[in-house]
Subunit: 638 residues, 2 copies
């Protein structure tokens, strides 16, 4: 059939040629497929000795209908631009997903039974790091819908390809606020290419959900948020089919299908029973019998329509903004300017704002490239979810807010790392240096947060040219990239040709007689230089390192400084834990000699004050640095 | 008047005795009060040279009505148990709050003009650390309503005092998902003692909000979430008064008053104008004239009804669970058991669950003390907001979820520290040791996150008796307290009489010949002991320290170990950044000698595997430790 994918695979395991359920097959055949998905969910969890079969069984009919009748996908070509996208927000129902992969012939029965074993692609919760058909890692609930919105946004506004995004989520996860951030954006952006299916099986992990089977409660909420809502018996395949049809026919807004289901459906001993979440069935063999036994039934998924890869705006050469040494420029300004230039050079750069674009300077980009600028309003979780969704489609997203408020999206950032998503996050208004606004607006924990993210890069520039170079460089890195910018202006230190490799640093003051090394980044570089110059005049030469790459750190330069000067003093506009003071240790944790270490950081709770007063009060200004150096040098002499 | 508070203050500055607006005064007098609040907002921001006068002016009429007619509060006794509670969720409108404090006579005109100056109590965003009438620090939007729900929950279910909670928020912050977590809980818990007033002034920071003046959009959403909704012209004092009356008369559900307002109201040049957010008016003098000039008008706030401090359930002696050395007990089990015992000994302990109480073992508490157990469902931001709200009322909250999912509430934890709130957070399922479920469920960044929180305590017990002691000890600490628990069983190491002071550690293996020191905590303590014993048999004695107190660390013991053994090897089931490896440095950052350091931590992205396989794959099991020790010892010999 021209409209269905065909590919290799084990016909016995995955359903022989004559046993594939197709779109035109009867509802009874769909039911058979659903039962097989249940059987395989039970078998996989049983083989693993753990997992979530009952959460899979509730959604098996929905999955069967989706696969056979509505999902358009080429499993042999997961990068096909016309493919629909499927996100399993309730990632713990992975047995169902893997059973589906078996039904379409993408995995064998043998592989299915490796579920949750070490080295298996079939992890407890699905991740795209191992499986090409998975868009995004799930398992932290309430995130799949947000990422689905990001993908749908891409299809609607950027790719301009008519694929559909299908998200399957659980009912308990609707309590997560992130779901409503996503719901709000989806209707506002008129994402009629998005369908959310909620598996309302009444039971969460520890017992009934807040609304149990009150589908009207969910209906009212989604309708109020501007969605088209369909309620359906989630075990009635004909009804689910009609609901999906209705979703596809609905224009101008997203659709949610509220599917009333029974957890553990199909096995009487498991149906609607508390205490069975996340456990294999006690008697899997009997359960499989009750489900009608294993069938040789697969499914022929319809092929996606022909589509070209997204057309990006043709770019030009990258012409970064230029600054003269000594100019006073805030690094947030340089970020906005460089980002705008990058957007002109690269058609794949997309910018996301958390309703602070005037402050972060992301709005500079909006003026030049409005078609690639998305206003996410004050919803930082969705801001990051959009970035992850766009990244799955090959875009290079830059999402920015105040550094302090990116903490709001910590779990999304963590999961982005599990996905291996390549996203750029930029946090402005770093540290006490913002001044009067006070601690609620100060990013003082962001370096710790982003350093701890697996595979992340953490950059903290001190002047405009450095910022511009790093903004461009981060685009092509892997994983989560974080750039920290400052509110106030600071003098340009570097010339336009200076290079700033990620993992590097700059030695700004150095002599053979240096008594110690001051390691700074961002705003404190300027304070360190002032201190160094006054100390030099007083006969106490010190080395100054600009550690603009906080992760990875420049081990070689730090070790040279340690050998030459014997002591490193770190100075940072950040909490003392997890920031630059700790990052320096990355160069000295191999069991070799460690230099003497001291650190200046923000150890009190600031109030309101001018930027200069704040730096002084926190003990990270030039005078405090000079005083600390004197103390350390005297100490060493004794 | 018996029903109004009277107290000292400057009658000229705060309104003389005859010029206090009272509940029974005319609407015209309320308007005068509102104008004065605007005048003082303009003046305060002008004096500061920064701040948010336009965001204050939109809500001035609402504030006037609230103060004069509906708020019951004794400003001379902020700890009066019968006081209503007010939360300014739009914390940037602090000029309005401080103008109100002046109007009630709580601050002088002179202090008002110290707004945002260093050392002033009147910070850019209000915090309870400095002002006794502020319940909670705000300034990160979308948090005030959540905390308000926590306070209202306390009034309804725990204090059982009929105070009302009034939350004033902005329209732009309704985009935060946390608002809808709060909205959901408020209606579910039938919090008719809670009124949310939304200042719908159409403009966010960088321009129009998503829904601008479409009050119906907000109306539909709140109504769908089960709230009683009143729409009102926010500048019509009579209408606002009626709305507040209606809120107070509504039973069984919370009320939201959607107040249509104009940003910058009262000054033509500022009204409804973009680009003026967060800026003083350009001509404050003219603005004050336009507002009718300064008036000597104050307000007589009605006194709260007599009320007794909350009656807590009488407690008994604390009888912690007892375990025998060698028993296999998971620290999460010990947490649940100790918490239950603590709940019997102390009537002020309240437990909050994020729909994982069966996994965290918080449900043990629920069985004994259901009246002090709150199910927050899967909404970690609201979980922490509830804890903060309860803490403002003197309760000792323990909120728990998976450690991984507490990252969801990072910004709430950060703001709890700004508030100085005393809350206990417990994260279970730490590290790769959980096994098959995979990385989405593994807490691998939690130590970094909690260490970076100002004033926090971070505890990570390795066995059941230690867990039990620490669960009890954390109740009486200041600030944010975090305890990390493990999923799997581990052997009991300590006897029932062993003490575990916060800031301490335990030396579990020690000899005069120790070649280095292994520093471990939690699960890795057991691996370290196994390694140490096998190394000892092989003639390589090593010291083993159980660093159960990750913050603060036991500097003395670590320094002694450094002096004796010369090298510290940290081993942790956590990312290498920000955890135990970095925490150890807290003992060596004073410029003195630093021992050689090495660390074993989780540096890869785990998949599914058994707990033992995970520890091995991450290189933090006993064999990996022993191998690392051998390498380090040889290295040192060379």
């Amino acid at each position: 059939m021209a409209d269905s994918t065909t590919y290799g695979g084990d016909p016995e395991g995955a359903g022989g040629a004559g046993t594939r359920v197709a779109a035109t097959d009867t509802d009874e055949r769909l039911h058979e497929l659903a039962q097989q998905l249940r059987v395989d969910s039970v078998r996989a969890a049983d083989a693993a000795g753990s997992g979530h079969p009952t959460s899979s069984m509730s959604a098996a009919d929905v999955m069967a209908v989706l696969l056979a009748r509505h999902f358009h996908y080429d499993f042999a070509r997961p990068d096909h631009p016309g493919n629909d996208r499927f996100v399993l927000s309730k990632g713990h129902a992975s047995p169902l997903l893997y059973a589906a992969y078996k039904a379409v012939g993408a995995v064998t029965d043998e592989e299915l039974l490796t579920f949750r074993a070490q080295g298996s692609r079939l992890e407890g919760h699905p991740t795209p790091r191992r499986l090409p058909w998975v868009e995004v890692a799930t398992g932290s609930l309430g995130q799949g819908i947000g990422v689905g919105v990001g993908i749908a946004l891409s299809g609607k506004r950027l790719d301009r390809i008519p694929y559909r995004v299908w998200v399957l989520c659980g009912d308990s996860e609707l309590a997560e606020g992130s779901v409503w951030e996503a719901a709000e954006q989806a209707s506002y952006e008129r994402l009629d290419n998005l369908t959310l299916i909620v598996d309302v099986n009444r039971l969460g992990q520890r017992g009934p959900t807040r609304h149990e089977w009150d589908l009207d409660a969910y209906d009212r909420r989604f309708a109020a948020f501007g969605w088209h809502v369909v309620q359906v018996d989630g075990h009635d395949v004909a009804a689910v089919d009609r609901a999906c049809e209705e979703a596809r026919a609905t224009t101008g807004r997203p659709t949610v299908i509220l599917a009333r289901t029974v957890k553990g459906k199909g096995v009487a001993a498991a149906e609607n029973r508390e205490g069975l979440h996340g456990k294999p069935l006690s008697d899997a063999e009997a359960a499989v019998r009750e489900l009608g036994g294993s069938r040789h039934v697969g499914v022929a998924v319809q092929a996606p329509p022909a589509a070209r890869s997204p057309q990006t705006v043709p770019g030009g050469d990258l012409e970064l903004p230029r600054y003269d040494i000594g100019d006073e420029v805030a690094t947030r300004d340089a970020f906005g300017q460089a980002l705008t230039a990058l957007g002109s050079a690269r058609g794949d750069v997309v910018v996301l704002d958390g309703e602070v674009g005037d402050s972060t300077r992301a709005e500079y980009f909006a003026k030049e490239h409005p078609e690639r600028y998305v206003e996410c309003y004050i919803a930082e979780q969705q801001l990051v979810a959009d970035a992850v969704g766009l990244a799955t489609r090959g875009w290079v997203p830059y999402a920015s807010s105040f550094a302090a408020f990116l903490t709001r999206a910590h779990d999304f950032v963590r999961m982005a790392a599990v996905s291996g998503a390549g996203i750029n996050l930029v946090g402005s208004h770093a540290g006490v240096a913002i001044g009067q606004d006070g601690p609620s607006q100060m990013g003082l924990e962001d370096l710790a947060m982003f350093r701890s993210v697996h595979g992340s890069t953490v950059l903290y520039p001190c002047d405009a040219p450095q910022t511009a170079r790093l903004v461009a460089a981060m685009a092509d890195l892997d994983g989560v990239r974080y750039l920290r910018t400052s509110r106030g202006a600071s003098p340009v230190l570097y010339g336009p040709e200076e290079e700033f490799p990620v993992g590097g640093s700059k030695v700004l003051r150095s002599s053979a007689d240096d008594r110690l090394t001051v390691v700074a980044a961002g705003i404190t570089v300027h304070e360190a230089l002032t201190a160094a110059d006054s100390l030099a005049r007083a006969g106490v030469p010190v080395r100054v390192i600009d550690l603009y790459s906080v992760k990875p750190v420049d081990r070689r330069t730090l070790r040279e400084a340690a050998e030459s000067t014997g002591c490193l003093l770190t100075v940072e506009d950040h909490r003392q834990e997890g920031g630059i003071g700790d990052a320096v240790l990355d160069a000295f944790c191999d069991g070799g000699p460690v230099p003497r270490l001291a650190r200046l950081a923000v150890t009190t709770m600031p109030g309101s004050a001018t930027p200069a007063e704040q730096l002084r009060a926190a003990g990270i200004d030039a005078e405090s640095i000079a005083a600390a150096v004197r103390l350390l040098v005297e100490h060493a002499v004794r």
